[in-house]
Symmetry: D3
Subunit: 284 residues, 6 copies
Amino acid sequence: MADAQRYSSYKYFNIFFPEQYQYVAHVEINRPDKMNAFFEAMWLELGQIFTQLSHDSSVRAIVLSGAGDKAFTTGLDVKFASQGLLAEKKVADAAREAFELRRHIASFQDCITAVERCEKPVICIMHGLALGLAVDLSVATDVRLASADFRCAVKEVDVGLAADIGTLSRLPKAVGNYGWVKEVALTARFFLADEAKEVGFVNAVYKDKEETVRRGLEMAGLMARKSPVAVQGTKELLNYSRDHSVEDGLRYTAVWNAAALQTKDIQAAMLSGLQKRIPTFEKL
Amino acid sequence: MADAQRYSSYKYFNIFFPEQYQYVAHVEINRPDKMNAFFEAMWLELGQIFTQLSHDSSVRAIVLSGAGDKAFTTGLDVKFASQGLLAEKKVADAAREAFELRRHIASFQDCITAVERCEKPVICIMHGLALGLAVDLSVATDVRLASADFRCAVKEVDVGLAADIGTLSRLPKAVGNYGWVKEVALTARFFLADEAKEVGFVNAVYKDKEETVRRGLEMAGLMARKSPVAVQGTKELLNYSRDHSVEDGLRYTAVWNAAALQTKDIQAAMLSGLQKRIPTFEKL
Amino acid sequence: MADAQRYSSYKYFNIFFPEQYQYVAHVEINRPDKMNAFFEAMWLELGQIFTQLSHDSSVRAIVLSGAGDKAFTTGLDVKFASQGLLAEKKVADAAREAFELRRHIASFQDCITAVERCEKPVICIMHGLALGLAVDLSVATDVRLASADFRCAVKEVDVGLAADIGTLSRLPKAVGNYGWVKEVALTARFFLADEAKEVGFVNAVYKDKEETVRRGLEMAGLMARKSPVAVQGTKELLNYSRDHSVEDGLRYTAVWNAAALQTKDIQAAMLSGLQKRIPTFEKL
Amino acid sequence: MADAQRYSSYKYFNIFFPEQYQYVAHVEINRPDKMNAFFEAMWLELGQIFTQLSHDSSVRAIVLSGAGDKAFTTGLDVKFASQGLLAEKKVADAAREAFELRRHIASFQDCITAVERCEKPVICIMHGLALGLAVDLSVATDVRLASADFRCAVKEVDVGLAADIGTLSRLPKAVGNYGWVKEVALTARFFLADEAKEVGFVNAVYKDKEETVRRGLEMAGLMARKSPVAVQGTKELLNYSRDHSVEDGLRYTAVWNAAALQTKDIQAAMLSGLQKRIPTFEKL
Amino acid sequence: MADAQRYSSYKYFNIFFPEQYQYVAHVEINRPDKMNAFFEAMWLELGQIFTQLSHDSSVRAIVLSGAGDKAFTTGLDVKFASQGLLAEKKVADAAREAFELRRHIASFQDCITAVERCEKPVICIMHGLALGLAVDLSVATDVRLASADFRCAVKEVDVGLAADIGTLSRLPKAVGNYGWVKEVALTARFFLADEAKEVGFVNAVYKDKEETVRRGLEMAGLMARKSPVAVQGTKELLNYSRDHSVEDGLRYTAVWNAAALQTKDIQAAMLSGLQKRIPTFEKL
Amino acid sequence: MADAQRYSSYKYFNIFFPEQYQYVAHVEINRPDKMNAFFEAMWLELGQIFTQLSHDSSVRAIVLSGAGDKAFTTGLDVKFASQGLLAEKKVADAAREAFELRRHIASFQDCITAVERCEKPVICIMHGLALGLAVDLSVATDVRLASADFRCAVKEVDVGLAADIGTLSRLPKAVGNYGWVKEVALTARFFLADEAKEVGFVNAVYKDKEETVRRGLEMAGLMARKSPVAVQGTKELLNYSRDHSVEDGLRYTAVWNAAALQTKDIQAAMLSGLQKRIPTFEKL
């Protein structure tokens, strides 16, 4: 079991280790009174949490959800964002302002990328409102599940900017319907759970948040019962494939498995299969 | 309002600026008696039009459609094409012929690529027959909408050639179903509006051409009411993402937004949001 | 007609040349009593067959299926695989073992890649069980058709390893729904014909194996009646596009067609079209 | 012989067709009283000239040099540049200014890239001062020759900007000494002919401008006497290689030569070789 | 002036801010009694230092050198390394060991990459012995200067491993002589200052360490007196170019300079030039 | 010792295993009466030899040279080549001819690429004449050494074609002086040993063939005495780096070494170092 104590210092997220799902961590965005809207301290913390989970050998799969009934997250907290963006600039010229903004964006991107880089699979539970950063964040996870009340928009153009924390880079690679991506990104219109399912943005739709969380935990539990060498290798190789040619993918895969096939998990899994029992795997 | 006069010299295309949709241009292929079939002067003109629209600050979104009831376009005008291809060759050898053909193809490709490079979103209305070049052209736009009578085929293999003006390069990236792309490109079979919707080739199907054009203009109007800095940045970043890794996409995005976030549109959009009124944005 | 004699030496595959479909070859995995499970001699032979078909001018389209009622293939033969993987290692250290494994994986990958590199289109008929290697193999073909009894799983994580013969490199590029790919690869759960159709893994579902084979042969027959210059160029250009930017794709296409447009097939196809008769094309 | 008349409309460049070197064009920057400094109309004209030369079948190799004794070119004309850059901006915000600047830079880059894209080899004669744009321009040519009085600097950082018309993209690929590139680009220090030769920036150093031009014309003449299919293919394939992997380079080369090897030039060249006479090649 | 106090907590490195070179930081590896050999705490600290310098607006150029007379650095401290590598492994199997090693290597690589990612130019002073990690580290800097007593080797193959902290990825791109890179990496033979200069591994050779440090500080001083917008843009764009095609480089450059050209530094630099005085630039 | 018997069936090459250099193979092109000119059977055999050597655990480094006094190789045997190229074509059209030529070129390229893919380092001894294919072949090796009588030309343009077996893809990446590559490829002029050394095409020049071979064997012997895990990893990682970004290089390296660092060779090498004796390493 994971040592929950080691995750107790985080302020804006709850980290649970549900008893019935060994090796599963459940990360909950915990600002329900503000629709789980993000400000800078939150995304910095998010980055730290997933970096820590990535190397925590007692965790093999992760569920990410938002607290409260209303929203997975409504994205950036406008109050905080407007303080930053509307503040009187003190920088000397537009070039220097650009240097500062670039560093700021890059730092923000890194926090979200920590979710993608996390070595363990991450399942994202999307309920209620999911705006702006909600999409940037969710496309850095591996599997998205929606509850029936899911209402989503790539909202950024409505506040005068192009999404820059991952949506425009990752969404077109998560969803095969490129015209749809362009439409929702250029119009900022809402789309609901069924449309999200149809275009492949979410894997499944469940009747409410409660069931969606439960299904997410079950899926995480299923992944967590398998060989972590196999599961974590599969995530890494799929992430690599997205950004490389098939030829490069095959070459990288061969080198990766040259070590990974030396695991005892293969024997353990095969023998368990023959003996019809559940295998156990060493820590990773 | 765009100065329609500046577009009055074009011969094969109508360019409208519908009054009810500010900042929207409507480009119509205008050879309905020949099913809007293309010959060289037409694609050269098409390239010029989209290059001009790209930098016209009175245009923020574009609709592309074909005149007449029968066809978006049936592709290359066989009469013109056969004159070229069947003509007695005068070149000295097959290598020299290849040099000429390569230049010709590249020049043709450039005209179609001008649609993709156009800084403003382009919505393609596809009605009736849409053959060969129709597909090359439509996949260079951002969003495709079909009317119920849409009948489409990647027709090139039926005339003995591989499509070379964009279909084979862009269609697999516009549509996530790669097996489907291979089937329709290798068999040249027809597919209709519903199938096109199902595989994500078109975003929506409407009952007839008239409604499809209207819906396209509405969508263009919606995009045109938003910050042009945000909309044009979003198009550019999505196009960039298609051809680059996520990592490169994030880096390019950060540099792009380092300047774009310095727009006054963000303030304008935010304040308008608070004040429940429609924002106006400076020319771009 | 292809000379069936030249393919008579293969042991684990049947190669048919159905009379009613000129220029079509039908390759059948022939180990039905073992659910068409593979061992090393089989994939080496598979590689040889597709390399031979690639340059056989009497073949223009290929159907691949599995013998028997139960399975397209259940993947690696566990008995053979376990002999290999569970055998007492004699190598000096884990690094040397990794060198051997890497060579072994690369050689195995090459055999499957021979299907993708085959210059002629390959249509894969998937019936019954299709596990593990079944997916690696099928995503190296161009079009997949399923019978209603199709039951498939990316089974590798269940035996403690990440799929390394092509699935993790090619499946995300064959199917636009990336979340779905991650789910099925990380959970090893089964999916059936309808789900496979919905996500675009297969192009169509037919009522049983017999009909699926028939439809596959018809589709192959249709491709084989067209200009082989056009069809083989289209396959090559689509494969190239998958792994390159649109810009690179257009450049490669222009160079390719600079030679391919010099075929007499264009004249033949155009004249046949005008004369309403079926064109014939020279050998390629 | 090229028809010099067709190049008579250019204002800022002389285009010569030296009698003793058949198929050679000599382009001379012609603003010697201002050290051949560039303003916008000049680089637009430069782009047009090289685009025209690219398809002129009477030209097979090109020499580029600067008029006068003092300078190849001192780069941007400060007077013009400062008018542009120091002018009171009228744009609404820094983001809009960035859009305009980006278009301006891209248009400027395209003019210089026209030299690289020119299908014929270009030999650059560098004498006297060569500052800023001189480097951007010269690295878009194929071979650089220097006269002994050559004094060069990547001058941009001294006027507060990063070189953006090609130097930072092409110089590191033209010269293998990356540390040297960083030093000269980050310090803007001068380097002379011998140092330029030592690091491979120029191929050779001759005693004065006159001899350097003569040697350049001789080299161009030598290239122009060879098969234009071979020479132009070689330039294209080398340019392609610079930006692609070896594997992609080999694949592109094979497709290219599949047409190019069908030239009669090979027979002509071989027979001439056997018969010890100078071959002639058809126009290209 | 930089606040040296903020760098006082580092244990294994001295950070100086030489009075005569405004905006220059001098980082010194400070373990001279052990030939500046590295152990893990040192490279972690190195990464932190360069990350801090990267965003310190009082620093515009950096010199990196090693304390003592004998060595820039002899690479990994064998005592520490052997403790790690020779220790009795407790991991369950070779696959799990590989996961741990990969994380370890990646973390180590990140520390060295921090030098390359540092926004300010870094000049590396190489004196005496420079083995193994010395090369990995130096090729992450921008300019290398050697003293006459420099003796260097890519030593890793002599201890049974392939260099993995950057040498094999960066050295072939720093030096144009690929055969030389292969020779020194595959034989581990020593090469001295003159050979290093000849192949472009170092920019210059000076008579002893003292002069080399002085020359390095002068070069850093020269860079630091220029516009930081220009200098830091130049470093970033050159780093980008190394890993991208010319076309991608030009596109990225245009977007970068669209903001950077809006600096007041251009006016300041131009006016200073006209007025023959040294410009001053705002903080960045 | 390698079993020379296993290499006795080759007809056009001698394969020696010099006694004084354990684990070294010496491959000699053996057609000295024809200046070692190649015809098809020879390059097919060459590919087989290097494929066999690649997996022969008794070989750790290879020397490649040409028999006789006059030439490393003068490239293609004109008599054979002209039979092929000048033969009356029987193919139906230029497109079909292009298909055949492309297959032929690709097959030829593969044979030369087998030298690069060979897991062991290859040192190329270049003496006397080295024309055309000599360059294609030599740039697929790792280190080139020249004797003083070396006379080389990228001769292809003189016979009317662009080099297509590797020179145009690999030479620009082997040599940092891109202008020089363009000059010698576009003029086909000769260059001698000293120039080859100066531009980095060869690593060293020795007084005659005999000494060059001896030095090559010594260098191979030196490589062969080191850990084969380290040496072969170094070759693979350097080859990978050439065609990938630094970031991709680091990632691939980390995965590679995650297995390779588990070799006992590191202990063996370190202990031998401490004990001042020559280590021995297990077979690989």
